[in-house]
Amino acid sequence: MLARCGPLSLLGASFVLMVGGLGAPGPAGLALASGVLLVAVPLTVGPGRFPWARLVPGLLAIASVAWSNWLLASPRSWEAAGFAGLRIGFFVLPGVVFASFVDPAVLGDHLGQRLRLPARPVLAAVAALQRFERFGADWEDLGRARRVRGLGPSRSPVSALRAGAAQAMGLLVGALRDATDSAVAMEARGFSRPARTGTPRTWAVAAPWTRADTALLVGCLAATTIALAGTPVLAALAGR
């Protein structure tokens, strides 16, 4: 299902969960909502569509948040620390999954047409995101060039670090030079014309809002509602 969602619902849903996680008044409702997400999100992914290793940094972050919120709290409380970790995990883990379904070109179309953001920054960002995919090849080319010039790393880690830094600088310089050339080509194709003439540009591809978008947003709103309202409601039920 996530594959059929547009970027705005994926982003919007992430922010909705953020409100739920950071705004949750207590652990009970948040735990319940997290349970719902834990079951629902994997079902919407589709097999083989998400590299699960991308969750590792998030899991580490949750653990470190829980640990530091125990260590530095006064008084220390494992319950509060666990809650602190859960608040983060509630929006981080689904957010990382959702993000991997966002295509930069489609994101640009939606930001330009649905949110009516200024076209030039949006287009420049999209073009740069596509440039990013060439960075890997550029990095290797640069490594070859530095190797043949005798500037590659020797075996010592210090020299490896130095050579890496110099190579990174080379990559940055090359990318900025290419960007300058690219800017000339884009300007020649009328990149700044809409801004100059006041006639808004058109967009070759529409930015539709689909049922999948609505479903995702409603689902995440529901999870957030549980996270926000669950604790008082459960407490009221228990108190009756």
Binding site: S14, A61, V92, V96, S100, A124, A127
Partner: protein, 212 residues
């Protein structure tokens, strides 16, 4: 080598600060992506050892915050127009967001706040001063906004107040360092000729003409 810089006025963006050119967007966005690559490298390679090192004393983790401020500081110093710092920081954050990171969509919020922090300082100088002192101030402001508006209430919600303040202090120190580093990075880039067409490139050209 750098002592004479404050006495020289900074070169200003062509056509006045508000006259964004197409090239400003294109080059700023690519700079943002390159900085985003640094974020990704940190997230996947250095984050774990860094977290392990700071386990015993978590507020010190904020010493790494400066890395996340570099795009805004560098972007502001290169383009020298309102919104440049925010734009570059957001582009870097979007790349980090798309590729997965420890904080998920949180990085977009952080990117927004960090960019705004730098914008505040550059705006206070009306986009006319871009020396090392201004860059350090921008880094400190950016770190403060990030910690006070966001991290205190999210990642450090249960910290006691002394620890929250300690975290802020470490972040500000990191922000000051990031200001210096950002300024040095922009100068180094200008020296390679990669910023011709931008104010730091013009400064470098004039400096060379003056020396030679």
């Amino acid at each position: 080598m750098t002592t004479d810089i404050p006495s020289r006025p900074s070169a200003l963006a062509r056509g006045g600060p508000w006259a964004w050119r197409g090239a400003d967007f294109v080059v700023a966005a690519v700079f943002g992506i390159a900085m985003g690559v640094v974020f990704i490298a940190w997230d996947y390679l250095l984050n774990t050892p860094w977290t392990a090192i700071t386990l015993a004393f978590p507020p010190a983790a904020s010493l790494a915050l400066g890395v996340w401020l570099l795009p805004a500081i560098g972007g502001g110093l290169i383009v020298r127009r309102p919104g440049a710092a925010l734009f570059v920081e957001l582009v870097a954050a979007i790349l980090e967001y798309l590729l997965g990171n420890p904080w998920g969509p949180g990085v977009l919020v952080s990117g927004l706040l960090q960019g705004l922090g730098v914008e505040l300082v550059l705006a206070a100088f009306r986009w006319r001063r871009f020396g090392p002192a201004v860059a350090m101030l921008a880094g400190a402001a950016s770190a403060t906004v990030e910690i006070v508006v966001y991290e205190w209430w999210s990642y450090a919600a249960e910290y006691s107040w002394p620890w929250k303040l300690a975290m802020l202090a470490f972040a500000v120190v990191s922000g000051l360092a990031a200001g210096l580093a950002g300024h040095a990075l922009v100068r180094a880039l200008a020296r390679t000729g990669a910023l011709s067409g931008f104010p730091p490139g013009a400064e470098e050209t004039l400096r060379r003409a003056g020396d030679g």
